[in-house]
């Protein structure tokens, strides 16, 4: 049975269709894997009962000859930022203690409607704020890959639990959300594929909001094809989300033609940052060569405002977060810490309920929006954001995709970069610019570094052109032939 957990979604789909195994068998083997790997702390809530019920229902549908959904019978994990009806939803925060949503997020509902089987809710940085999955109220997640001497490493964040679950073969795929790199960076750290779609491609309805103008859900899988399959099941216009794009969902899998002859690939010089690790530079060059060999045309491009993306992000995202998180006040759901007055109750609840990093970001956000500072910080950031978006727009007049490294390093040890918030923020240096511009981006594992840890490459595309991104990623994947897996 254990080999079932090594299958990709595409392989499992074929196996299920042929009757090689049942969804219940597939699900049981993943439940076993999930239980066996509890030490990684990838899940906040395991839902084996729900998984078994849904697997059984999938098998019954299949037995009756009903048409199978795109994810029918496939066991997946859901980041605990997605509200799931009747299942505890925490955002990895103390403040959502005991919160059981009476509703299902659009994206998770889409997946369930496509037949997917939910194994549980994965751990994350509290309210998705972090790049190492060390801010969760439920404890940090451990990367299934080990450092030198078996040292525990971070899985990246904020979708660290989803990344670990997929990398460690506990789930065939998992949902992530990406605000500044929260899908792509942990995917790179754990040697899997993570796709952040164009802003507006997946509905935000029912996902606990961090920064509304940036948040976007996407798939985390072990292959590019799986990402295409899963994105197809997650995406779609949702009238309940005013920022959801009223566009049809293309057949993403069909985009994987393996042919990128004549594709124009931009390589932005500004991503060649000072003091860039040689192994990162090396894998980037390797990626360029692979694409060139496959018939793509490499174009040197410039995104002049790249270096300002991180500070812009750290104004925009906390500002939106400070407002989005105001609803966690102890009145209608979650933790309530009593107080003598309404204000006391608010302050006690939010003081105890939010962890340090979330508090820091709320305070920064409140500050940059406050009277006298709004223009200097928030408006300034919005103007720079436009410059960053226009940089991309200009470059995409001339190229089809952009290739960069996903992160400036491989996974680091738990405990590193903890003292300096800014050092931690720099993890997202390559992922944040595209987030600000709302562009689709994918990270895929390219090779292992000298410590045997995976390194990721990132491909960025034009708005709503996930198909080209996937096509190029598919070619890179074939060329890289990455077969590393955690011990």
């Amino acid at each position: 049975m254990s080999t079932l957990t090594n299958l990709t979604i595409a392989e499992a789909r074929n196996g299920l269709a042929k009757g090689d195994f049942s969804s219940q068998e597939l699900t049981e083997s993943h439940i076993a894997a999930m239980e066996a790997a509890r030490g990684l702390n990838a899940f906040i809530t395991e839902t084996p009962d729900i998984a078994q019920l849904r697997a059984k229902a999938s098998d019954e549908r299949r037995a009756k000859g009903e048409p199978a959904g795109a994810m029918d019978g496939i066991p997946i994990a859901i980041k605990d930022l997605f509200c799931t009806e009747g299942v505890l939803t925490t955002a990895a925060s103390h403040i959502l203690d005991g919160f059981v949503p009476p509703y299902e997020s659009t994206v998770s509902a889409n997946l369930m409607n496509a037949g997917a089987v939910m194994l549980g809710k994965t751990n994350l940085d509290e309210f998705a704020m972090g790049s190492a999955n060390i801010t969760s109220y439920y404890g940090n997640v451990i990367n299934p890959w080990k450092g030198k001497g078996g040292k525990d490493l971070v899985p990246g964040g904020s979708s660290g639990g989803s990344a670990a679950a997929v990398a460690a073969r506990m789930a065939m795929g998992a949902t992530g959300t990406d605000t500044g790199g929260s899908i792509r960076q942990p995917a790179a750290f754990t040697g899997i594929v993570g796709l952040k779609p164009t802003y507006g491609r997946c509905s935000r309805w029912g996902i606990v909001a961090f920064a509304s103008s940036l948040d976007q859900a996407g798939p985390m899988t072990r292959s590019v094809r799986d990402a295409a399959i899963m994105l197809g099941a997650m995406a779609g216009h949702d009238p309940k989300d005013s920022t959801s794009a009223p566009l049809p969902v293309p057949d993403f899998e069909a985009a994987l033609t393996g042919n990128i002859k004549g594709l124009r690939v931009g390589v932005p010089k500004e991503y060649r940052i000072d003091g860039m690790a040689t192994e990162i530079e090396g894998i980037w060059q390797q990626g360029i060569d692979w694409l060139k060999d496959a018939g793509a045309e490499i174009v040197d491009v410039s995104l002049p405002h790249t270096e300002y993306a991180l500070p812009t992000y750290y104004i925009v995202a906390p500002a939106e977060a400070s407002s989005n998180l105001a609803r966690y006040d102890g009145v209608r759901f979650g933790l309530r810490v009593p107080g003598d007055s309404l204000d006391d109750m608010y302050r006690n609840t939010r003081g105890e309920g939010f962890g340090d990093e979330v508090q820091r970001r709320i305070l920064i956000g409140a500050y940059v929006l406050s009277a006298g500072f709004y223009d200097a910080y928030y408006m300034k950031a919005q103007r720079v954001r436009r410059l960053i978006a226009e940089d991309f727009k200009k470059v995409f007049e001339n190229v089809d995709v952009i290739l960069t490294p996903t992160a400036p390093s491989a996974a680091f040890a738990i405990g590193e970069k903890m003292d300096d918030p800014v050092a931690m923020y720099l993890n997202d240096i390559f992922t944040v610019p595209a987030s600000l511009a709302g562009l689709p981006g994918i990270s895929l594992p390219a090779s292992l570094n000298s410590d045997g840890l995976p390194l990721g490459l990132q491909l960025l595309g034009k708005p709503f052109d996930e198909e080209t991104v996937l096509r190029a990623a598919g070619v890179l994947e074939t060329a890289a032939a990455f077969d590393g897996r955690p011990a």
Binding site: A211, E320, A371, Y374
Partner: protein
């Protein structure tokens, strides 16, 4: 006519601006599909969006946009084709999101005008600074429990239009006239029911004072909790007097929010609300800029009903009514509609008289609005018909009107039932006259000796003899002929 308050140091002028919150008439809320209706069980007209559950998102109601544009056009205001929703961030128990979605920087409606009809028949323009859409808050109830406040979110998220006037008002009378006129316009437009008792129209009053002749505006205080026209007028008086006293005592007025207490007749500082207020407005990232087309605005404009100012003008120029009568009749949309039904096919001034004098007296007496008038417009119109075709006299009409007010019956039925039909048959009238002449030889003698005034006495006798039903014109003429013969 100007409103000047005397202080120890001299005379003071009062400067007032109003912020009116008008609940938009719509079936569902501004950003959610739950119902707006009033008086439901607590927390039943509440969706997960209204309760600000995690991950819930706003989607705007197209009717609220249309109603706001309609109101803007009714205020002769510029309509902004692009407007933006901002979040106003603050914590309060009845504000579940922790922010109110409003429009600070780019409201949907810009500058406009309201014309005040003052008691002396004169008019005056008051500038409108802006109108924007925003969410209403829920309700907190503080007196159910000794230790807790109860929160009902039924009203939370209902669409509001905040209508901000320029500081163009100068007296409590202005404030009353402004609020009545604004309410009238909203009701004509059908965009707000203007019901201050139920809180569907509320206002905050910004008051400052300055010595007569001083050009600059002084610091203002914002007075809240003013839930009737009368209270708004009172609040201005009380707050202006307080500020003058502060200046007279050598103090300074501070910019603050004050609560109006109608029972104690005072305003008092709401320091608790004042502390560290900083709303941190920023564009709501869950929404996009609202863009409307000029064609959309033009279509709404083309569908606007006749508004009170135009209607008043028409009553004066086309129907020949006085400014006062026209103003009274147009103030309420229902009154104007009633009047027009009565006046149709009749003398406009006569109809106006009947409505303003007779009908209003009945309504006042019974304490009911015109929509619940015991006399329908159709019946009053029929009554005028009966006078016009000489079926009854004006005097009988008044009696019939009284019966209509009591019974709600149609005038023709009353006339029929009581046999009040006017006698126009000269034979019958002549017979009555002959009888009166025969019975009163002394009075006839007086007439013949030159006392013509006694004719009136004879008319009275004849009318009495005919139970008031004789046509007075016919009686007069026949009587004179007979007395002279």
């Amino acid at each position: 006519m100007s409103y000047i308050l005397a202080g120890e140091s001299g005379d003071w002028e009062v400067v007032i601006g109003l912020e009116v919150h008008a609940q938009i008439i719509s079936k569902s809320k501004l950003f959610s599909g739950s119902a707006t209706s009033f008086g439901a069980e607590p927390n039943t007209h509440v969706s997960l969006v209204d309760a600000a559950m995690p991950g819930m998102l706003p989607v705007i109601n197209e009717e609220c946009i249309e109603q706001s544009v309609r109101t803007g056009l009714g205020l002769k205001a510029e309509i902004n084709l692009t407007s933006v929703f901002d979040r106003k961030n603050y914590f309060y128990a009845d504000l579940p999101q922790g922010y109110q979605i409003s429009q600070l920087y780019h409201p949907i409606v810009g500058e406009g005008t309201v014309i005040l009809d003052l008691d002396d028949g004169s008019t005056r323009e008051v500038g409108i600074e802006r109108l924007h859409m925003e969410q209403d808050a829920g309700k907190s109830m503080h007196d159910q429990d000794p230790k807790r406040s109860f929160i009902d979110l039924n009203r939370s998220g209902t669409g509001l239009m905040e209508i901000v006037s320029r500081p163009d008002l100068r007296s409590p009378e202005d404030v009353g006239a402004y609020l009545r006129k604004l309410r009238s316009i909203l009701r004509y437009l059908g965009t707000c029911d203007g019901n201050m008792d139920e809180g569907s129209m509320r206002c905050d009053v910004n008051v400052s004072v300055r010595p007569v002749g001083e050009a600059e505006l002084r610091t203002r205080a914002e007075v809240k909790n003013v839930n009737s026209v009368r209270f708004a007028m009172q609040a201005v008086e009380i707050e202006a007097r307080r500020q003058i006293d502060v200046y007279d005592d050598g103090g300074q007025v501070v910019q603050e929010t004050r609560l109006f207490d109608s029972v104690k007749g005072e305003t008092r500082s709401m320091r608790s609300k004042e502390f560290a207020h900083d709303y941190r407005y920023f564009p709501d990232p869950d929404l996009l800029p609202l863009v409307i087309s000029q064609e959309y605005v033009d279509a709404i404009k083309a569908s606007l009903p006749e508004l009170p100012d135009d209607r008043k003008q028409r009553y004066m120029s086309d129907l020949g009514l006085s400014a006062y009568d026209a103003g009274v009749l147009v103030a309420e949309k229902e009154t104007a509609a009633y009047y027009e039904e009565v006046a149709g096919g009749h003398d406009a001034k006569l109809a106006a008289n009947w409505v303003i004098t007779n009908l209003f007296a009945v309504l006042k007496d019974k304490g009911v609005p015109i929509s619940e008038s015991p006399i329908s417009a159709a019946h009053l119109s029929q009554l005028l018909d009966l006078m016009a075709d000489d079926t009854i006299s004006g005097r009988i009409a008044k009696d019939v009107f009284e019966i209509m007010a009591e019974t709600g019956k149609a005038p023709a039925a009353i006339v029929e039932e009581k046999g009040l039909t006017q006698i126009t048959d000269t034979g019958a009238i002549e017979a009555a006259i002959d009888q009166v002449i025969a019975d009163n030889p002394g009075q006839v003698e007086q007439f013949k000796s030159g006392n013509e005034k006694i004719t009136g006495w004879f008319v009275g006798q004849v009318m009495q003899a005919t139970g008031g039903k004789a046509n007075p014109g016919a009686v007069n003429k026949l009587l004179r002929d007979k007395l002279k013969s």
